[in-house]
């Protein structure tokens, strides 16, 4: 995969715009041959990740930058999509970003769980610039870990 992503979306942290990115990514996944259900799940995961940046990273501010990069990948002949989400939030301790146990039924706290279950690879990191976080995710088209195996 070259350094330049096939598609890059730079947007402000306006919750209204999350829907547009979700639809674009679902269409992209579809065009790469991902099943409709997997593409819909992928769109959900990206939506949750962006929502978390807006809610937790930017505390609801609507004019901060979010950057989404999407590229087809093909490591060892395994087709998939790589999605990177970068922000300029204050860097938090990566151990803070985690899902809660699901046996307690209460509203909230499902986003990270959804992201981890839907994506085949998920990695949060601090950006080297010293500001901002980077979330790198992959989902394969012939995924061994499919959500239907949950």
């Amino acid at each position: 995969m070259s350094d330049r992503p096939d598609i890059e979306i730079r947007m402000v942290s306006q919750p209204r715009y999350v829907c547009a990115v979700r639809r674009a990514i679902e269409a992209l996944a579809d065009s790469q041959g991902m099943s409709k259900q997997d593409a819909a799940d992928l769109a959900l995961a990206i939506s949750e990740a962006m929502t978390n940046v807006i809610k937790h990273g930017y505390d609801g501010q609507i004019d901060r930058p979010i950057n989404i990069q999407v590229s087809p990948i093909n490591p060892n002949g395994r087709k998939g999509l790589k999605i990177v989400i970068e922000d300029e939030c204050e860097q938090v301790d990566l151990s803070q970003i985690q899902s809660r146990p699901l046996d307690e039924v209460r509203p909230g706290g499902l986003g990270i769980h959804l992201i981890e279950r839907i994506m085949d690879q998920v990695q949060y990191a601090h950006r080297q610039s010293g500001q901002g976080m980077r979330l790198t995710m992959c989902k394969f088209i012939d995924a061994q870990k499919t959500v239907s195996e949950r």
Binding site: V18, C19, T51, I54, V105, L114
Partner: protein, 115 residues
């Protein structure tokens, strides 16, 4: 998706409660409005609330959280909350978050009235 609109597009009284129909995408933008509309209805102390999701095309975790909250209110009052008509796309989020075993989920409004 405009966020000023009402999310519950229709509601119908049944013997022991109400069937409400929800429309469109239930995401961060629209969940607060859904929450408001549901809680208003739940104040009426209904034995059974059926939420028809057949016209919901997308739901994120904020939508699910809203439904969990409604379920908790009903449970606390010993009342029922039933979801029905979920499109597969929408069912998926309940399955992944293992809430398909927590909610009563039925095929359609007819079976929801019996559940």
């Amino acid at each position: 998706m405009a966020d000023q609109d009402t999310i519950i597009s229709d509601h119908q009284t049944i013997e022991d409660g109400v069937v409400v129909k929800v429309e469109g995408e239930i995401d961060l933008i629209r969940s607060p409005q859904l929450r408001k509309e549901l809680i208003e209805l739940l104040n009426a102390d209904l034995d059974r609330m059926v939420i028809d999701l057949s016209h919901v095309t997308f739901m994120d975790s904020s939508g699910v959280a809203t439904l969990v909250e409604a379920l908790q209110i009903q449970r606390r009052n010993n009342k029922k909350l039933i979801l029905c008509g979920l499109q597969q796309k929408v069912k998926s989020i309940f399955e992944i978050s293992r809430l398909d075993m927590v909610f009563i989920i039925t095929e359609d409004t007819a079976s929801a009235a019996q559940a």
